[in-house]
Assembly symmetry: D2
């Protein structure tokens, strides 16, 4: 693991998620750019002291020589390091599981895409929400055509935690996200808008083809956007509204997707992840529950517990790691298309970075932009 | 009452709402443009046969001569008749309570505004949702400043009943709404978008100053818009997203308003009208319930039942009629500003028509427009 | 109307409900045992001064001689007057629509049953909750057998408004309900337990055959029970839990019914009355919405508004008055069974009083009792 | 770990929960009474082959001699083995973390209590629901006195999965639970009633002192109870209703606790575990969310993720393991009271078994029983 040192939120989540299903074990890391803090973090993670490296370069160098080397590298750093770490890992022959967004800029994403292709190595992207069973169900429903042609989509991702200038008061999570040099140019857009965008494309199975976005920096002194509204067009002509905000005071982690087709609609909310609502023009509303025997194979495949036993964010995250582990084994055994199609990969990474780049362009020009 | 004949949805609702609080009685009407159907409707409403008129002109003419004349005229016709009927009523000396939108076009609204001003007569507009106790509470909260400066608003009004071309199969409600000659140019925009717009301005107490709207006619053959998305700017610089749609398959009458301020947010949903959710940056979420002893005076003033006894759409509607009746009495007794400020009037009517006109203009030009 | 004078809650509700559908008009009343207050109430209700009587006896006497006499008597007094007023009305030849419970004691209920039978006159009982569309739907579902044999029922009616001894501080509603002489012996049991009991029998279509109840007077100084828990057995051997409480601090009007059958269950909540939840062993949860085209005929028959437009307590109440009006017309036209089977009548009244009597007996003896 | 072999539900949950926080690692087990299946399970858990033992006796014997011996034994077998395995572990000097209920019978629980006391070793009991942050919050609220004296409690635990005789068709979970020899005499009572009972005492901090229970075996041929209703009295005189059922068709894992005090009430639902509802006599309803900065120290101590990121069943389970690990360390370092008071222990185990025993006694005698 690269990143995830003291004060990180997402590092420990990656550790828990990766290990949850007993398929992966964290054995080495470059957890911080300070050797001392990396070592301290390594102790916290209970790994062997000599495998808590002072830099990711040192880790790649040392691990490639071990007989019990790591099987892959997980990247959980601020965005600006995603590309260099990934390139270093791929160069060293290690598959990569990266936190989102794929890189800091769209150009970097294109470079990464090339590097992944050139390496022939597996690459996964932790768009966490794609790991929820009922997101898989929503995706299966869209694919089944039961909604009829999709006409309208509303995806919103509303948080309130940046309602105040917490990046100026030492909140580490807020600090790097508000610094374009570490984060890339997209603030709210890059942090959560990209999740909303991915969810939209992932569930509908359609590409966005154009967009009109408006980005704002609402909190005085903030250096990146903290509020984003966009109207999007999909490949079939459907229209989508995407709202992402980190100044929606009072909201926690309000990701919600609604998809309206000719016959009915679906509605999924991350804060109530074990239910999927379906509303029909010609029938009663339906609520599908995680672990329902009537769910699609895709949804049932990622459920661990019986009905009524809530699974949450870590479990969804763990689904992606489990699929990555499956993919690694398939890849090692030489299968031609080893990675599960349900696991977001480099294409999703490039799409996401394109979204951020296009959103900024549209907002600056105050115009519609094509993808 | 003018309009509300056979097949009408809103006429009987006006009758129930007007009479609910025992302050108003329906005694005369021109319910249809067919004399026979008007008479039949009159029987249904149990009014005296001679007061079921064949035309609104006949009604104005006859009623103004009666010693027990009507006290005011309620207009519940398709939009294109709102102006002529209102003008005729005002000319005959009758105050007017009109269904929304105020007229069919913005130009007509300006004409009506003049007519109302010239007449000196009371004019009320039934933006029903303004009658809910918890909308009053939301308004009081915004006015109190407790949310801090308002930064972001999301108002959505999603229906599914026009997901199919029902106007082509004899559904009367859909037919006139889809005919620009009867309805005016705004389809979904004029039918429900205007409610969403009103709710936004009503609750926040702020004017919209600019907008970028996109209107679509999604159902093949439809002659007016059935889906509308707009980004709005408010007078304090806040941003709002307004979504109105009648092709959101599976939705019933999904009007919802969320207002985000510096300190927290409020969230009200028409389909769950007796609760108002407040979320705070620094405290637990609150749910205020209709009839709560802790509610503002404005909210308590419009509550009829003890807590836990649901009041609904008709009750909200009836609040507006009750306030109109209060205003009429105050007006008759010569009070200088007789109409309650909580009752939508001609200004709201003009604002609403301006919204429709500007939305269409923005959508056609694909540009931002000022108000 | 008898009762419903100053300070009454339920009198104005009866007036609104009776008149809502334009079938009934309040024209006379004995609103208070004080002539003066009755007259004042009559003015509030806008009835002719001479028809605001000083006593119910005077009303019966005067009205029976009028050519435009009242068509029936609505009883909205404290319980102890239900029997004498009903008997007086029946003797005078007036049908009766009575608030619940039917009488103050079980013995009185038997007497009333005889009086009704002897008179041959229509009698209706306002178990309000039976007027909700989705209670009708629940009843239709039970009758359809789709749940399979019913095995278990949970009905709860939880309120908090008597958590403090408000009857000792001049709250009129609380005062008479806490006085056995005015209210009868059942406190919470008679005020709301009887509603829960009725709902259970009404929806399932089954009779209760035995019970083990525990009544408590939790608030010091209270003279009647304010909390009731009972285990019941139904005629098919199913078991039910009935909870009624008025010291459930924080609750509003929390009536909820859950019915579990072999194949699935239904769940209805009065505070969210326009939805009915169905959960199935072998399929997704369903939410049926008021006005759904897929609802049973019985449910659709009592719906006034399109989907998503909430109807509430007054509308449910009005359904019972509308059915009573239908029944009166059928009765006047000589139909053999004029009253709609969906309208609670004297049988429901006797059952309810039996419930109260049995609950008290079981609680006193601390034993199971048969019905 | 003892138990948790092929087909087990709870074994893998224990593994995930124990390891989630990086404090515990599964290294040995006797997963099945068949040596072969134990070995196979050991492979699944990726432990060293020689530490997948053929019997728990063999495990105790072998592990006590290892220098890298296990630190404690987790018991996840059917109930009838809880006592013998626990005794063997204690005899071998290993602390015990046991699944609930503590034993198969009350007599066994008393024996276990003595064995634990005699050993001086730590003992923990996985009443999972005690690990949810908002159960901790509910407990803190009760302790704070803010609700006033507690008057009434409703705890329900409704499941539907035993609505059909699945134990007769090879469902392993159902089979042993329906066999008194493996399960003990309490069916639904012992499987989930005991959880409800524990939650009640855990949150309120009060002991139950008496009970009137009715147990039923609803499904034909079932050998243990599958439905339980009880009225309980608490040490302060408050009354509680406890409902547990496994024939509540359509329910998943419907554990819910409501506590009513003089001033207000709290309401927690396991299927929506990250919210706690508080309703007040004199103020708005409150919803406390997991990770809220306003939560009690006890609640915040067991939260891993920021607000809006759902934690579920496994995370709650893991809290108990984390506290057990904390307790083990404290115990090893010689602290006088090493185990956290928030972790259920042998006293909770004895109380739970007493509940089952008393429930059966009360139901058989059809009488109130004292505790």
């Amino acid at each position: 693991m690269v990143g995830g040192g003291p004060g990180a939120f997402i590092g420990p989540v990656h550790r828990m998620a990766a290990e949850l299903d007993g398929r992966i074990e964290l054995v080495a890391g470059a957890f911080s750019q300070s050797a001392e803090r990396s070592r301290a973090a390594g102790e916290g993670y209970r790994i062997a002291p000599e495998r808590a490296y002072a830099s990711y370069e040192a880790m790649m160098e040392a691990e490639r020589r071990r007989t019990d080397a790591i099987d892959f590298v997980a990247i959980v750093t601020p965005n600006a390091l995603h590309l260099p770490v990934a390139e270093a890992a791929l160069r060293a022959g290690f598959p990569v599981m990266s936190d989102k967004p794929a890189t800091a800029t769209y150009e970097e994403a294109l470079a990464l895409e090339k590097a992944v292709a050139a390496s022939g190595l597996p690459y996964g992207l932790t768009h966490t929400y794609a790991g929820y069973a009922l997101v898989r169900e929503a995706r299966a429903i869209c694919a089944s055509g039961r909604l009829g042609a999709i006409r309208k989509i509303v995806v919103e991702y509303l948080q309130g935690w940046l309602s105040r200038p917490v990046e100026q008061t030492g909140q580490k999570q807020a600090a790097w996200r508000s610094d374009p040099a570490l984060n890339g140019p997209g603030g709210c857009t890059g942090d959560i808008g990209v999740h909303a965008f991915h969810l939209l494309e992932y569930v509908t199975g359609m590409d966005v083809t154009g967009m009109r976005a408006t980005l704002r920096s609402v909190v005085p002194g903030r250096r990146v956007d903290d509020d984003c509204t966009a109207l999007l067009r999909l490949e079939n002509g459907a229209s989508a509204v995407l709202m992402a905000s980190q100044i929606a005071a009072g909201e926690g982690n309000g990701l919600r997707l609604r998809v309206y087709g000719e016959n009915g609609s679906l509605d999924w909310r991350q804060e109530d992840p074990n239910r999927l609502r379906l509303k029909w023009l010609d029938g009663a509303e339906e609520i599908r529950h995680a672990a329902g025997t009537y769910l699609s194979q895709d949804a049932r495949a990622v459920t661990r517990l019986p009905g009524g036993h809530p699974e949450g964010f870590i479990e969804a995250f763990a689904v992606l790691y489990r699929e990555f582990a499956d993919g690694l084994l398939a890849w090692k055994s030489g299968e031609p298309r080893p990675m599960p199609v349900t696991l977001p990969g480099i294409r999703a990474g490039v799409r996401g970075m394109r979204f951020i780049e296009r959103a900024i362009a549209s907002s600056v020009k105050q115009q519609w932009v094509e993808f």
